[in-house]
């Protein structure tokens, strides 16, 4: 990656802010990488489908029915994607509240990831709305549906994005060499972190609470009144799993930015994350067992959905748990990464089961997502990765902060 060291930070003696930003807009790095070649067509098709969605209505691009109103966009991008972004609040808790300095090197990139995830999943939510412009109603008070869990989730998304932007903003200030702004924004970090963790706990559980009223419509193996609690616990290890996966990918893609000597600290980070993940998954597993017994669900195990349930719990919760535990005794980076991937699949299965697969599993017309829904889902994720890459290549997210900002990072 060839880039001039002096354009890393805005040198206000030479450039104005505007010309600096314009210059930064130019692409850095190779244009024709495999990732670019695959992702650009998908993104373009996805954007076109979104255009059709707005000109011809939702029905033109998805298979939703009157009995299954939420599909892939809400079920995956919103309900599942937000769990993946849980790493931001978990790491913020570890670094700022518990003062565990060892995670500091990966904090900023995780916050960036979390922020972008929420932004793009909110975009996915808005695309899935029937009348998106009316979303302003919950802000202006037409009316404030305070009884609604969805109201809470919507507002929390908004406020949480703000909190994460504040947490991340010192990096932007460092990029633009704004010393005073940097000082002010850094002083707001603790407030943003405390606020952010509180909001996170509430809206992660809120996503689970969304389904509480659909008691008769979700298969008993997945519905229970502890859904909010289970969603919070699972968001902990879902977020950590994504942090592990994203870290291993970033290390291969952004190699130039990592200091040469940090392999030790990175392994320590992975070990600790594996430990925390294992702990959280162990709790989750036992909660699942308790709920299973309490709801007397054994009778459902012999059905097709019963087997599917066992696959999800045993194959994608218990197996990664065992792998994490194994890597704590005999550390192996590959094992940890594989466990993380399995965990992510397990979360996807669980959340999508609750929202679209086991939801009205008995409907006359079963819901199978249209190909357009898949394309848009993937396109949104790819666009998010593009933005992530843009930011990481320019701002001090992985690489070190400039000297004058040494109190942070």
């Amino acid at each position: 990656m060839k880039q001039n060291a002096d354009t890393l930070y805005l040198d206000s003696r030479n450039n104005s802010v505007w010309s600096f930003i314009l210059q930064e807009m130019k692409p850095k790095g190779k244009i024709f990488t495999p990732f670019n070649i695959i992702s650009i067509p998908i993104i373009l098709v996805g954007l076109y489908i979104i255009f059709i969605r707005f000109t011809q209505g939702l029905g033109a691009v998805n298979n939703l029915t009157q009995e299954v109103p939420w599909g892939l966009w809400k079920g995956f991008n919103v309900v599942t994607g937000v769990a993946f972004a849980g790493g931001a609040y978990v790491l913020a808790f570890l670094v700022y509240i518990l003062n565990m300095k060892r995670f500091k090197p990966i904090l900023r990139v995780t916050i960036l990831n979390g922020f972008l995830a929420y932004v793009f999943y909110s975009i996915a939510l808005i695309i899935d709305l029937g009348r998106p412009l009316d979303i302003i109603n919950i802000i202006i008070g037409n009316n404030y549906g305070v009884s609604s869990v969805m109201f809470l989730v919507g507002w929390h998304f908004l406020l949480y994005m703000l909190a994460m932007l504040i947490e991340f903003s010192p990096a932007i200030a460092e990029w633009l060499n704004l010393k005073k702004a940097h000082r002010v924004l850094s002083s707001l970090t603790l407030a943003a972190v405390v606020f952010g963790i509180t909001l996170s706990v509430l809206h992660q559980s809120g996503l689970g609470a969304l389904f509480l009223m659909a008691k008769d419509k979700i298969h008993p193996l997945w519905y229970n009144s502890y859904l909010p609690l289970m969603f919070v616990v699972s968001s902990v290890f879902a977020g950590i799993a994504l942090v592990i996966l994203e870290g291993s990918i970033s290390r291969k893609v952004f190699t130039g930015q990592y200091p040469d000597d940090d392999k030790e600290s990175h392994n320590l980070i992975l070990k600790s994350l594996a430990k925390i993940s294992a702990g959280a998954m162990f709790l989750y597993l036992f909660m699942t067992i308790i709920i299973f017994v309490h709801e007397q669900n054994a009778v459902y195990l012999s059905s097709k959905l019963g087997a599917w349930y066992l696959l999800e719990v045993l194959g994608f919760v218990m197996v990664p748990l065992i792998l994490y535990c194994y890597s704590c005794t005999k550390y192996n980076r590959t094992v940890v990464t594989v466990a993380a991937v399995l965990t992510l699949i397990g979360i996807m299965l669980n959340r999508m089961n609750i929202s679209i697969i086991a939801f009205r599993w008995d409907a006359a017309v079963p819901y199978i997502p249209a190909w357009q829904e898949f394309v848009v889902t993937v396109a949104i994720i790819l666009i998010e990765i593009w933005v992530f890459r843009w930011v990481v290549r320019r701002m001090p997210v992985i690489r070190k902060s400039p000297e004058w900002a040494k109190n942070n990072h």
Partner: protein
């Protein structure tokens, strides 16, 4: 709920949300109070009178030593010494306790006087050697209005080695430049002090424009005064006798 009349299960929810918002707003001042945060430091935006270089008076005829004392040779041969406008505005109104009496001989670097505010002391060391002729008997130095060099002198003495001892002092334009740099250095000192002594560093910001507040030292704890003495003033070439 009898099933025959309308009943809102969530009637109080709106008010509860408002109370929650109020809670968050009140949490911030509570956190500051609980952490013994110095009110003056946190009321940063109500400042009037920032200690900025533009407001300092740096008369050209005085010799300034690097621990913020000045010396002026009067026509009749006695030297008047005192603290400069920067130090005066930084500490504010203080009681002066002379450490030497008229007739006593002092060497450059000897303890000359104490500046006291509410049990916190700053030591002032003699910028030049000589025999004390006079103390400023007014007892306290005002920090408002008037020419500080008329009102804020501490001693008059007959200098014994004026020329060589004032060689390294700042004069005229050079003094002005140095004073400007000192204001900057004081700002950093304050920021560092705030982090050290206010347990909630993340909540304490420096003011708009980054200028330190006048009389900022007044509200700081005694440890900060010791820091100021040792690391801010003490980083000078002047030797002190212990």
């Amino acid at each position: 709920m009898d099933g025959f009349h309308y009943y809102d299960l969530f009637a109080t929810k709106g008010i509860e949300y408002l109370i929650t918002i109020a809670f968050f707003l009140l949490l911030i001042p509570l956190w500051k109070v609980l952490n013994g945060n110095i009110p003056a430091m946190s009321k940063v935006n109500e400042m009037a009178g920032a200690l900025s270089f533009g407001r300092l008076s740096v008369p050209k005829g005085l010799f300034y030593s690097s621990n913020h004392t000045w010396a002026f040779l009067k026509k009749e041969g006695t030297a008047r010494v005192g603290i400069d406008d920067f130090l005066l505005r930084a500490v504010g109104e203080v009681e002066v306790q002379p450490a030497v009496t008229p007739g006593q001989k002092v060497k450059k670097g000897d303890l000359m006087a104490h500046l006291i505010h509410e049990g916190k002391t700053l030591n002032v060391f003699a910028p030049v050697s000589g025999q004390i002729v006079n103390n400023n008997t007014s007892g306290s130095i005002p920090s408002d209005g008037g020419d500080p060099y008329q009102k804020a002198w501490l001693m008059e003495l007959k200098p014994s080695d004026w020329l060589s001892e004032t060689q390294s002092f700042y004069l005229a334009d050079q003094a002005a430049n140095w004073m400007k740099a000192e204001v900057e250095r004081f700002r950093d000192f304050l920021a560092h002090t705030a982090q050290k002594y206010a347990p909630e560093p993340a909540m304490v910001t420096l003011q708009d424009g980054g200028e330190p507040r006048e009389q900022a030292m007044k509200e700081l704890p005694v440890e900060a005064w010791q820091d100021f003495q040792k690391s801010f003033l003490g980083s000078s070439t002047l030797k002190k006798t212990d």
